[in-house]
Symmetry: C2
Subunit: 203 residues, 2 copies
């Protein structure tokens, strides 16, 4: 069985950038494809960029619990098809799901055996600077975003790992290390050991 | 706080070789120094190769629980001084302890927060070949060693990780990954986050 790796973290922390960099570094890992009701853009391919669905198809997927999580955003649905994840894991490959914090917690309810990685800003000070940095927002907007960020940071306790995104390469190296380490966890290796010992005893 | 990393595994699996290779690759990690009652050999330095102790000193260390584990081997005592481990961890450095499986389990009783890594042969078949390979042992000796090896392999369930020693570089890479990953575990990162948030709220 492969591992389900969920990469999440507060808005603005750089999930997408880190995930894109990982694709280049870990080509053997599968990247989850979301389902959406929004129209395909020029060049987007069904099953590669997204699984494009009608609103009726999407609602039917929700009804039969075919999505690990879903959300509505600017009038369109987005979600993670469970079937694609299941098939990838059953083929023995790892799959990475890059997702915002609320969605990640929903995935955890359905998939507690997943590896949940929380991408962190180097410091709360740094996150504050990223949020206020553009200098075009009102103080109210900044305060609101900062409160949301602090709330999102507090969700860290639901995750297995915290990876600081100080530099993209360093963050990728930590994530790669986590994946290697998780494959070495003794409870994953023991079933193979038992098979191997049984083979020896028969011989 | 640094991490205590315990590297163990069945006799003949190559713990010493892997640990030596790790020293070259991870110079920032401290390698535990054992205490012993055996005489120093030419060139051995007290506090570097071993802490050399008299039998009385060693027994006094046992009496005041100053050793994480100890054993007698060919008439001499060997043990792991707890003080050296504690001071290293308090200085913020990781420390690696390379030790046989029985000693590792004793360390776990006193230090359950350690990271316990079990070095494995690529297969039980391979371990059998290593044990029978020299061709100079009686069938009884081989059977005895194989039984011991199977028993030692069954101790894997007490460990956090299993690392296959198929190639030294590959085994070292897995161990390095485990150490990086363990430093990212969210329960280790959360205290720093709380401090950082408190600083932000005050500011």
């Amino acid at each position: 069985m492969g591992l389900l790796i969920v990469l999440s973290g507060p808005a603005g922390v750089g999930k997408g950038t880190v995930c894109s960099a990982l694709r280049g570094k870990m080509p053997d890992i599968v990247y989850s494809v979301s389902a959406t009701t929004r129209q395909p853009r020029q060049g987007e391919v069904d099953g590669v960029n997204y699984f494009f669905k009608s609103k009726e198809q999407f609602q039917e997927m929700i009804a039969r619990d075919a999505l690990l999580e879903h959300a509505e955003y600017v009038g369109n649905y987005y979600g993670t098809p469970r079937d694609f994840v299941d098939r990838t894991l059953a083929s023995g490959k790892d799959i990475i799901l890059e997702i915002e914090v609320q969605g990640a917690l929903k995935v955890k309810e359905k998939f507690p055996e997943g590896i949940f990685i929380f991408l962190m800003p180097p410091s709360m000070e740094e996150l504050k600077q990223r949020i206020t940095g553009r200098g075009t927002e009102s103080q109210d907007t900044i305060n609101h975003r900062m409160n949301v960020a602090v709330e999102e940071m507090n969700l860290l306790r639901h995750y297995d790992y915290a990876v600081v995104n100080d530099q993209i390469d360093a963050a990728c190296h930590r994530i790669q290390s986590i994946i290697v380490a998780e494959h070495c966890r003794s409870e994953r290796v023991m079933p193979y050991l038992a098979e191997s010992q049984a083979a020896i005893e028969k011989a």
